[in-house]
Amino acid sequence: MPPAMLADTALAESAVTVSIPHSTTPTILLIACGALAREILAVIECNGLTGMALECLPATLHNRPEHIPEAVREKIRAARGRGIETVHVVYADCGTGGRLDRVCEEEGVTRIAGPHCYAFFDGLDDFAARADEEIGAFFLTDFLARQFETLIWKGMGMDRHPDLRDLYFAHYDRVVYLAQTDDPALDAKARAAADRLGLRYERRKTGYGALADFVQRAASSGC
């Protein structure tokens, strides 16, 4: 799928192969969560990186994280079958409790460090340092702000049963929108999401954080 046609709904619900400009014969594969596709592409385009392919798994896998490790393994093996030896995984641990790391180790690939994408956007050390203070924070990224309705409101059944909101979010006190880009429309969406959840709102500009370094290092790994 060409970058311009990347649809959030497809990234949320389907496995998507993203065409990268100037990468007609890629030797490096990034296997990523659909929630990171646009951000990875932005880093690639911004830095003029070449020789890379990007395959995304559905972002909805986060609702059943136990399925993530084997889905990633399948992608790695399929890539090896096509002759692509250099593979990097752009998933945080994402609630797999170390099982994704085991798959990466067994398959001989690297993974971006961190427990959640929030952490690598925010900066791993800063995120960890704020853990106590932000224990009640529900994090949104650009993707999640755009997909709040589909992935969170509907995905968690609150469209059908609004009472569930108070069960899920009883102990949360705020929404923290970790913004990758400066987009007033997304800011408004994130604020509206916080209102809907009955939580106070904070916005923190993070940019692409450690994702930018990881993708750039991945680009040079095939040399």
Binding site: D93, G95, T96, G97, D132, G157, M158
Partner: protein, 231 residues
């Protein structure tokens, strides 16, 4: 529900039909219908314990199986749990009056740094339904909370829950603290939560990892029966 089901008058059903209907209503998360069903069975002279086990716990067991098999998802399980909780609200004081088999006592809580309690609450409810006395410490518990409660309550079982990869290692801190105080073997330690697995449970020194509420109940029963046998 279909229109046909909407026309069902619970009070006109036989006991067997009513219990079956309550299983369906629990599955559909229909709190008002569960409350009505519980009251009808009690009026018909059913012992509170029989209502609890045959109508509610059995219904929730079916919900648990379909959750495990990927047929039901978290929202549906929560609605079912809410309906069961409402039914238990009627039964609990009656169970205390009439007496019900006591299985043991559990102290349970979500670990320090973690505010997620949906799974823990489900386990608490199912354990109570199975005849365990449950002391729920809530969320974000440091080790000392668990240790104090275990001693004060003279508990048999410690249950710890975590939803985050970053908070699950704290379970080992609690278990190590129990060891340091020389009381680890006084308790059965059960752990659970989405990112955990059996290997992690073993690695931190828990007695068992429980992948869901139904497994927690069965595991707790097995350990309590072993304890009784060894006494």
């Amino acid at each position: 529900m279909s229109d046909e089901e909407d026309d069902i008058v619970l009070s006109e059903l036989s006991n067997e039909e009513l219990v079956q209907q309550m299983h369906d209503d629990l599955y559909d998360g229909l709190k008002d219908e569960i409350l009505e069903g519980v009251n009808i069975l009690l009026e018909r002279g059913w012992a509170p314990y029989k209502v609890l086990t045959e109508a509610l716990v059995e219904g929730m067991r079916i919900v648990g199986i379909d959750f495990r098999d990927g047929i039901l998802f978290v929202p549906e399980v929560l609605l079912a749990a809410n309906a069961m909780k409402a039914g238990m609200g009627i039964l609990k004081p009656l169970l205390a009056e009439t007496g019900a088999p006591k299985q043991g006592k559990m102290v349970i809580g979500t670990v320090k740094g973690d505010i997620h309690d949906i799974g823990k609450n489900l386990v608490s409810m199912m354990m109570e339904g199975a005849g365990f006395e449950v002391v729920d410490l809530g969320i974000n518990n440091p080790a000392e909370n668990y240790l104090e409660a275990l001693e004060k309550e003279d508990a048999d079982i410690l249950g710890m829950s975590a939803l985050l990869t970053t908070t699950m290692p704290y379970m080992k801190v609690v278990i190590d603290e129990l060891k340091a105080k020389g009381v680890r073997d006084n308790y059965v330690v059960l752990v659970g939560g989405a990112p955990l697995n059996e290997e992690f449970g073993k690695a931190i020194g828990a007695d068992a990892y429980c992948r869901d509420a139904a497994v927690a109940v069965e595991t707790a029963k097995e350990y309590m029966s072993q304890r009784m046998h060894n006494q």
